[in-house]
């Protein structure tokens, strides 16, 4: 999953906009952003937070520094448990040329000392768009982990695996993403946004149907020809 490989795989599958949402860290976003810019592929910064209840929450940003600030805040909320490379990989951060810059010593595949509500507020306070991840999935999905959608939280976009938004999300709109942990998974699920630009604000306008904009899930598996 090197920066250029991600970008090239995305372009090969005719994807116009990608985001990188690594687990509890945005350290790799700048290198992929650079590769995306090089190739003319639109890019959003992001992360996937894992809350105390083991719910996954995506966060999307137009702005590199805002995303980096959330990443720093999240780092302080990660327990001090060290990584174990034999089981979880080396957690390397590479540059655009795949030169290893460092290995992250703290285990990133862990839960933050942060409840779900608090995590949503934290993302918003940093200027990011919070999107509950794969809510219809048994593992690490909002509904499976919390039992049902908590009252009082409003989202514009909610990510699903099936393409169908479960009840309880009000006027939110479903999106699908690859959630690729491997290059072969890039493009396996996508979303078509009809919008004027590749920004978070435009995604929100599309979710709200402003000025004819729209959002449509493509949950089907992408197949190699």
């Amino acid at each position: 999953m090197s920066p250029r490989l991600i970008v090239n795989a995305s372009r090969a599958r005719r994807i116009d906009l990608i985001a990188v949402t690594d687990h509890n860290s945005a350290a790799m976003t700048t290198a992929v952003a650079e590769a995306a810019a090089e190739a003319g592929l639109a890019f959003l910064y992001g992360m996937e937070l894992q809350t105390r209840e083991e719910v996954h929450l995506l966060a999307y940003f137009d702005d590199c520094e805002a995303c980096a600030a959330l990443s720093r805040a999240v780092y302080e909320l990660l327990p001090d448990r060290p990584n174990e490379p034999a089981y979880f990989g080396d957690q390397v951060c590479v540059d655009i040329d795949e030169t290893i810059l460092r290995s992250e010593p703290k285990l990133l595949v862990n839960s933050l000392d942060l409840g779900f509500d608090e995590a949503v507020r934290l993302v918003r306070s940093h200027g990011g768009l919070p999107v509950p991840a794969h809510v219809d999935r048994e593992t690490y999905g909002l509904i499976a982990q919390l039992g049902f959608v908590p009252e009082g939280l409003v989202f514009d976009l909610v990510e699903v695996v099936s393409g169908v938004l479960p009840d309880g999300f009000g006027s939110a709109v479903a999106v699908c993403s690859s959630d690729a942990h491997d290059p072969s998974q890039i493009g396996r699920r996508t979303t078509v946004f009809e919008m004027n630009d590749c920004t978070v604000d435009e995604m929100v306008r599309a979710a709200r149907g402003v000025g004819g904009r729209s959002v449509a899930c493509c949950p089907g598996e992408w197949r190699m020809k």
Partner: protein, 111 residues
């Protein structure tokens, strides 16, 4: 007390064959949050849970647990079973609830 002793005394099913069943058991841990077990678990404990996805095997391995005991008849899929076998992680199963199993395991280990 070994895993095998616990299996016999509590009437558990072993899902992963004979590897690891002679391992020592020193205690137990109960919960369905993997991050909780990562943070609080200790080697040679039996972990009682209803979670049965692949990450459970990784956590059991990392923490050095004696076994994972799946309550309520939870059954892992073939991929998870294969992963457990190849990683040397013991998966046990019972139809009883986690509450029942915790009580009985605790009594067994403290009698």
């Amino acid at each position: 007390m070994t895993v095998s002793d616990v299996v016999d005394r509590l009437g558990l099913t072993v899902l992963t064959g004979s590897v690891g069943v002679e391992g020592a058991v020193s205690g137990g841990i109960v919960g369905d949050l993997l991050s909780y077990v990562l943070g609080t678990g200790a080697p040679d404990q039996i972990w009682i849970t209803v979670q049965h996805h692949a990450n459970v095997v990784a956590v059991a391995k990392v923490v050095g647990l004696a076994a994972v005991l799946l309550a309520d008849g939870r059954t892992p899929d073939e991929a998870v079973l294969a992963r457990a076998k190849s990683d040397g992680v013991v998966l046990l199963q019972s139809d009883e609830t986690a509450f029942e199993l915790s009580g009985r395991l605790h009594r067994l280990l403290t009698e």
